[in-house]
């Protein structure tokens, strides 16, 4: 069987049989009742929804920044403490190193 011919014949059959354009009784009324029963767009509700959605990332950013500021503060404190203790050690080292010289000075 020639499939191409069969395809052409069947497509010709489809072309010769256009679908009906009949509209059910009072169909437009049904559409209008559906349209009027749909809730109208409430702008305040839209704003509220948008603001609620925006609140989530805002809270997340706030928490992140808070955590970051705490981390930075603790890092700074550690640095200051380290610097202080480092200064003490160097002073002690200097004193220990120069102790004999200091003693000599005191004796003289």
């Amino acid at each position: 069987m020639n499939l191409e011919d069969l395809q052409k014949k069947l497509l010709a059959a489809a072309r010769s049989n256009p679908p009906e354009d009949r509209v059910p009784y009072a169909f437009e009324k049904r559409i209008l009742s559906r349209l009027s029963s749909q809730p109208a767009a409430d702008s305040s509700a839209l704003w509220a929804r948008a603001l609620w959605r925006a609140a989530v990332p805002c809270v997340a950013v706030t928490l992140l920044l808070t955590a970051l500021s705490f981390t930075m503060a603790s890092t700074e404190t550690t640095t200051v403490t380290t610097v202080t203790s480092e200064a003490d050690i160097s002073q002690q080292f200097e004193l220990a190193l120069l102790a004999p010289a200091n003693q000599l000075e005191e004796i003289q």
Binding site: L6, L11, A14
Partner: protein
């Protein structure tokens, strides 16, 4: 005095649903005919048409008026029908379980003498409907628009929102898909 289409659309955009009624009355036959190409059950057809009109009302603001309202509406209709086909893709009958006796007779007569059988026969119409139902949504849409409704590739591109090369590629694939289905249908008996 009767209001023009532009006036009716402008009023409907402002929320006057009553102004939308004459538009529904005027274009519903065309929309129903389009929907009936893609859905078999009348309940499905009505659902599709209802969805088209509700979408049209909701998106009426996007109608700029530089092209006829009918073109804008038909684009929406074709796209809604395509969405319907895609949504019901899994519900398609998976195989030609049984072709009816008249369809079988028609095929037998075609195999014996292709020129003698009529394309007007009911069996041929049922058979083509069955084959279209077997096709993929894109394939069915393209075959319907290109081969059955005789539309140009450019027109189909506008209706579907697909690019011209994509329409051509899909048309090529759709014809091949249809031949494959026909081969499956006829292989046992006639090949």
């Amino acid at each position: 005095m009767e209001r023009t289409e532009a006036e009716l659309i402008a009023a409907a955009v402002k929320g006057d649903t009553a102004s939308f009624e004459p538009l529904i009355q005027k274009y519903s036959p065309r929309v129903f005919a389009t929907a009936r190409r893609y859905a078999r059950l009348e309940r499905e057809v009505e659902d599709i048409v209802q969805e088209i009109w509700i979408k049209a009302f909701q998106k009426l603001e996007s109608f700029r008026g530089d092209a006829p309202f009918e073109h804008w509406l038909m684009r929406m209709a074709v796209r809604t029908c395509y969405d319907f086909l895609r949504a019901h893709q899994r519900n398609r009958e998976s195989a030609f379980t049984e072709i009816s006796e008249p369809e079988d007779d028609w095929l037998e007569r075609f195999a014996a003498a292709p020129e003698s059988v009529s394309a007007q026969a009911d069996a041929a119409k049922q058979l083509v409907g069955r084959i279209l139902e077997e096709m993929s949504p894109a394939g069915r849409l393209i075959i319907t628009l290109l081969e059955i409704e005789d539309r140009s590739v450019k027109e189909i591109s506008k209706l579907t929102g697909w690019s011209v090369p994509l329409v051509k590629v899909r048309a090529f694939r759709a014809r091949a898909e249809m031949r494959k289905i026909l081969a499956r249908l006829t292989k046992d008996k006639y090949l």
